[in-house]
């Protein structure tokens, strides 16, 4: 007799637990306002990433095509996996002194692990993280970028 009632109690409790679960899913089924899905490729226009988001390393230039990079190479030393290569050149400036400037700031996006050490270490705040996240390309050579724009110069007052 005991096992007999236990059998039916098992069925009853089992059904109740299943219905409880169905209640949860049913609640969301009849309340479509609770959905959180983003319609990703369609919402590109108003999709804004957070300011801190580590998308890629960029070098901001002002409207006179000037950047803050002195070519010191501290970012290159701090990078754990060699994503940054600095090619510097030496010029003679207006005062007649020799000055080391940046020729090419090469950034291998494909090797970057977004640890942020280069940006933390940069003494003149020349590089920062951009919010771009759609990095897929068909040719991996396109992942090697030169961050300083052609013809750009160092901003005045940055040492």
């Amino acid at each position: 007799m005991n096992s007999f009632t236990g059998y039916f109690r098992g069925i009853f409790n089992g059904l109740r637990s299943l219905l409880q679960g169905l209640g949860v899913t049913g609640k969301y089924f009849f309340k479509p306002g609770t959905t959180v899905t983003q319609q990703y490729p369609d919402n590109r226009k108003d999709l804004k990433m957070f300011d801190m988001f580590k998308g890629e390393v960029i070098m901001p230039h002002n409207d006179k095509n000037e950047h803050k990079c002195t070519g010191c190479g501290i970012c290159e030393i701090n990078c754990p996996n060699g994503s940054i290569e600095i090619i510097s050149a030496t010029i003679v400036n207006e005062d007649g002194r020799k000055q080391r400037i940046i020729d090419k700031h090469i950034y291998h996006l494909g090797m970057c692990t977004f640890c942020g050490l280069c940006i933390k270490a940069c003494p003149s705040k020349a590089i920062e993280f951009g919010q771009e996240f759609e990095h897929a390309v068909f040719d991996r050579r396109k992942l090697t970028k030169v961050l300083n724009q052609p013809g750009s110069k160092i901003m005045k007052g940055v040492e």
Binding site: N13, G14, S17, L18, Q20, G21, G23, V24, T25, V36, M49, F50, D51, M52, F53, K54, N78, P80, T113, F114, C115, G116, L117, K120, A121, F129
Partner: protein
């Protein structure tokens, strides 16, 4: 558990089958060579190394701040806690005391990491056992934690937010507001998890008394974290050897004595409540102060051996650094919880059905990159 199998297989013969390296329920590239007799598991032999990257060896050729981004990639679901472990070891070696602000922020972020890791465990565990709804609900709520991480740390999973001496940058002004919103929301949502999965009769039948580990076995095999605590082994590093701000909060260590798959699941569900309690105690009074101590550009540890262990979402992670006084460590060893948890898989699943092997494997919540490192 073991029954007579009416199969045309002779008594001594076993059917050997590979589960993995590409199997949805091993959650990564883990290869289990399973010897079967009928449907009954006779022997499980884990083959690891498919995602071995040599992180410990790589650490020997880079500087201390650079190690941190590698630890993100071991147990990627407790990335922040792994970072913290290395930072604490380096700070211990240098004798630096970080500010209270850093300690509190680290603790809050660690607990958020624990919550999101357990949410993903709940999601994938339900999916392993055939409840796909859990996967959607778990990831939906995890998204809120990831948004907090993204706003403050810049990364969603691979945060790289700690550095020796403090944090990479200060917290975002929205951090406290968002965290409080999440706690309020999740306190209402977590009972739904229980209604949907914990009480489910099919779920319980598949987990209770499956993969049982006694307390003595748990200690002998070195099981820590939720796996050890489900067997009654009190091993919470946060409680026994508090680091960061864990000494100033009150929380319970979740302990069960049954040691089966169901109670490993229960420990994690209860830990999410405890994590929310810890965050609520700290979130309103984050002390003022600097977010990072001033460090030398090149960090050199004094000669010697240093060890620090932390409680990740899966168990005790130990970081052991041998320094010879240079800017690179001489040797780094990570005592990762997942590697230890994989070892008794054979013990747990011997004599169980092959479907139970999936349940046991899921309840251990293994992260394969942490096993191989």
């Amino acid at each position: 558990m073991e029954e007579e199998v009416k199969a045309p297989v002779p008594e001594q013969e076993e059917y050997v089958i590979n589960m993995g390296p590409q199997h949805p329920s091993t959650h990564g590239v883990l290869r289990l060579v399973v010897s079967l007799r009928g449907e009954i598991v006779r022997n499980v032999e884990p083959h690891i190394g498919y995602i071995h990257r040599g992180i410990e060896k790589m650490c020997e050729s880079i500087a201390y701040p650079q190690i941190i981004h590698l630890t993100d990639r071991m147990d990627y679901l407790s990335a922040h806690i792994n970072n913290e472990a290395v930072c604490l070891t380096v700070e211990k070696a240098l004798g630096i005391e970080v500010s209270d602000r850093v300690k509190v922020i680290r603790t809050i972020l660690s607990e958020l990491t624990r919550i999101q890791s357990h949410q993903l465990f709940w999601a994938t565990f339900g999916m392993d056992l055939g409840g796909l709804t859990c996967f959607f609900y778990g990831l939906r709520d995890r998204e809120m934690v990831l948004d907090i991480f993204e706003e403050t740390c810049g990364g969603r999973m691979i945060v790289s937010y700690n550095c020796p001496g403090g944090l990479m940058n200060d917290i975002h002004p929205n951090f406290q507001k968002r965290t409080k919103e999440f706690i309020k929301y999740f306190r209402e949502t977590l009972p739904e998890y229980d209604r949907l999965l914990t009480g489910n009769v099919i779920f319980q039948e598949r987990l209770k008394n499956i993969g049982t580990v006694t307390r003595e076995q748990a200690i002998a095999w070195g099981l820590t974290g939720p796996v050890g605590r489900a067997s009654g082994f009190s091993c919470d590093v946060r409680k026994h050897n508090p680091y960061s701000a864990y000494d100033r909060v009150t929380f319970n260590e979740i302990l069960y004595n049954e040691g089966d798959s169901f109670h490993r699941y229960k420990v994690r569900m209860d830990e999410m409540w405890e994590s929310m309690n810890i965050i609520e105690q700290l979130i309103d009074n984050i002390p003022e102060g600097s977010y990072a101590e001033k460090m030398k550009p090149v960090i050199k540890l004094p000669e010697g051996e240093y060890f620090q262990s932390v409680e990740t979402a899966r168990g005790e992670l130990g970081v052991y650094i041998v320094s010879d006084g240079n800017k690179n460590p001489y040797r780094v060893k990570f005592r990762s919880p997942n590697f230890v948890h994989l070892a008794p898989l054979n013990l747990m699943s011997k004599g169980a059905k092959i479907a139970d092997l999936v349940a046991i494997n899921g309840s251990l919540d293994l992260i394969i990159p942490d096993i191989d490192r």
